[in-house]
Amino acid sequence: MKNTLIAGILLAAAALPLHAQDTDYPLNLVNCGVDLTFAAPPESAVTIGQAATEILYALGLAPKVSGTAAWFTPVLPEYAEVDARIERLADNDPGFESVVAKKPGLVAAQYEWHVGPTGSVGTRGMFHDLGIPTYVLPADCDTKDNRTGGDGTRTGAFQPAAIYKGIRELAAIFDVGPAGERLVKELQATESAAIGKAAALDLPEGLSAVFWFSSPEVESDPYVAGRLGAPGYMMSKLGIENVIASDEEWPTVGWESIARSDPDIIVVAYMDRRRYPADDVDRKLDFLRTDPVASRMTAVRNGRIVQMDAHAMSATMRSIRGLAALSDALSRMTFE
């Protein structure tokens, strides 16, 4: 009851009008180690990476988005209408020239491996040489080394502060500070409510979990969440221990090791992508229930399997919703 009250107060606070500062141009900021200066708000933007796209939509900047690329799942339902009017340059990596051809005032990217020192779309220097500034979401570079590991290696635990920083900086760049502050407050309220809800459950000590993203083949070694990424953040906030000790974002770990660590909870990703058989959440569930070893894990035997939006498992705005979803799922579980 107390937690519900706190959450209510926070939500009410989020709804209050805010008076964030208008941006004083020129705006100087350091983004993923690169100095940026904006003399005025950009007239338009191309986004590469769904998280960057959805932040701009959430800030009410959809009219300024002239192209998007690198989509993992369908856009959040509340932005479906605005998204339908915006050109999708590519579902995966767009070509450098296709981005440049839109003559964007800003390229906003989710990942450094798209736009970064060795970006597959282009390096930041390539864009900057043409007078196009680039912005990479801090969630992909703050406390993260993208030179190592398949998907980079976290040097420190991901915190939603990186998401909030990205939202605030993008809002400042486009001179929509109040919208940014409102969005941050909403997310913070959701985060606090989820944490409060889980705390009220009086969960048992030493509760453990594994987050299964996908696998190249259903039975082969799965991609699971390392301890420092967004799933690690969710687990730490809710008092759950990650059975995977790796610092990599998505290490490949054998079922043998996972079964031996015997997690209490398994979180499986659902997604629309169908490149690997294990992208399909039903195939994951079928494996867990029929595999002679996996089916003996405590989580499977007790039906403690949570389905979560795959995009929430990345360091994005959706991670906060993932935290809330996990907290809700915990409230429906029993632990003897």
Binding site: D93, W113, E256
Partner: protein, 348 residues
């Protein structure tokens, strides 16, 4: 003569013992430590209903993951070594192996098209893609070789063998280019990592249902090679020589190459494109037991089996906490071994 017989007799005993010991080691070693006692008890429970108390997850790891993995590694090692024996004999080229025939390249292309380009929309597995790619590549290479040898005047044995090798190189390059194009076009970091593991071999997803097809093609391939051992010997003298010895050259060559394609297609579809086994093992065994195929075929099959199980074990323990693609190990171990065989062969 007496020594040779004694050696053959000893080998007859030693071979199954060596193979069984290797599979047992392959079962005992893995990502997580298990005692030998757990392994023995689990196997005893399954084979002799011994009813030893064993932790259910430990028992599952031994019986459902590691034991079939070791058996499949042995089957694949034997099968890939046999394909090397056959291709090197038929094409009279010491470098002939499944890679040269474009089979592995085709398998990689098929798997990558499924994994990266999304061919099949999730309904087709990478294994099925690999099998289709391997057989398609084989068909292309054979058709090209046939057309090339026909255009060159047709029928000349040396020309036909050369045409096959050149067609294999062309096919490999084309399918490798298709693979690279597909990866460059749309793979992200996650996919590139999965594909790299697959292209260099990965036995992590092996289960009991994979044992039957791998064992079937390896055993059938081995039996076919032994059945045609004299024919394979005859090819040492070239196709004319083989024909003069009463061998029906086109039929034997066609059936053995088709068998090779099926073996590689099935094995690669299960474990990925593991290189070096088909090239190295026959050479090493030729050095040890001679060129006669009545010995070379079983020796290569056994050595291939032991080699691949050992490589799989090494891939699991070489870097603590990380499983390497098995192809990395076969190349790292196989290349120096191959160099040693070459150098010793040159001296003697």
């Amino acid at each position: 003569m007496m020594r040779a017989r004694t050696g053959a007799g000893l080998g007859l005993w030693l071979a199954p013992v060596l193979l069984a010991a290797t599979i047992l080691i392959g079962t005992a070693v893995g990502e997580t430590p298990l005692t030998l006692s757990t392994v023995f008890r689990t196997l005893a429970n399954h084979f002799w209903q011994a009813d030893y108390p064993v932790d259910a997850i430990d028992a599952g790891i031994v019986w459902s993951y590691r034991f079939p993995r070791a058996i499949v590694a042995a089957c694949c090692g034997a099968g890939l070594a046999l394909t090397g024996v056959v291709l090197q004999a038929l094409l009279r080229n010491p470098l002939a192996d499944p890679y040269l025939m474009g089979l592995s390249a085709g398998a990689s292309t098929g798997a990558v098209l499924v994994a990266v380009a999304g061919v099949g929309g999730g309904a087709v597995s990478m294994s099925m893609g690999a099998l289709t790619g391997a057989l398609l590549a084989f068909g292309c290479v054979v058709a090209l070789a046939h057309a090339a040898s026909g255009a060159a005047g047709g029928g000349r044995a040396t020309q036909a063998a050369a045409a096959m090798i050149l067609a294999g190189i062309a096919g490999s390059q084309m399918f490798n280019a298709l693979t690279a194009f597909t990866i460059a076009r749309s793979a992200n970091a996650e996919q590139a990592r999965g594909i790299m593991f697959w292209m260099m071999g990965n036995l992590s997803g092996i289960r009991w249902e994979d044992v039957a097809p791998c064992a079937a093609v390896s055993l059938a391939g081995g039996a076919l090679c032994l059945w045609h051992r004299r024919g394979l010997d005859a090819f040492t003298f070239g196709t004319h020589g083989a024909a003069s010895l009463g061998i029906n050259v086109p039929v034997l060559r066609g059936s053995l190459i088709a068998a090779t394609a099926i073996m590689v297609g099935v094995l690669v579809s299960k474990v990925g494109a593991i290189g070096f086994v088909g090239l190295v093992v026959p050479h090493a065994m030729r050095f040890l037991v001679g060129a006669r195929h009545d010995r070379l075929v079983p020796a290569s099959a056994l050595a291939g089996a032991v080699f691949l199980v050992a490589a799989d074990v090494i891939s699991r323990i070489l870097v603590a906490g990380q499983v390497l693609p098995i192809g990395v190990v076969t190349a790292l171990v196989g290349a120096p071994a191959f160099a040693l065989v070459l150098l010793r062969g040159a001296r003697t």
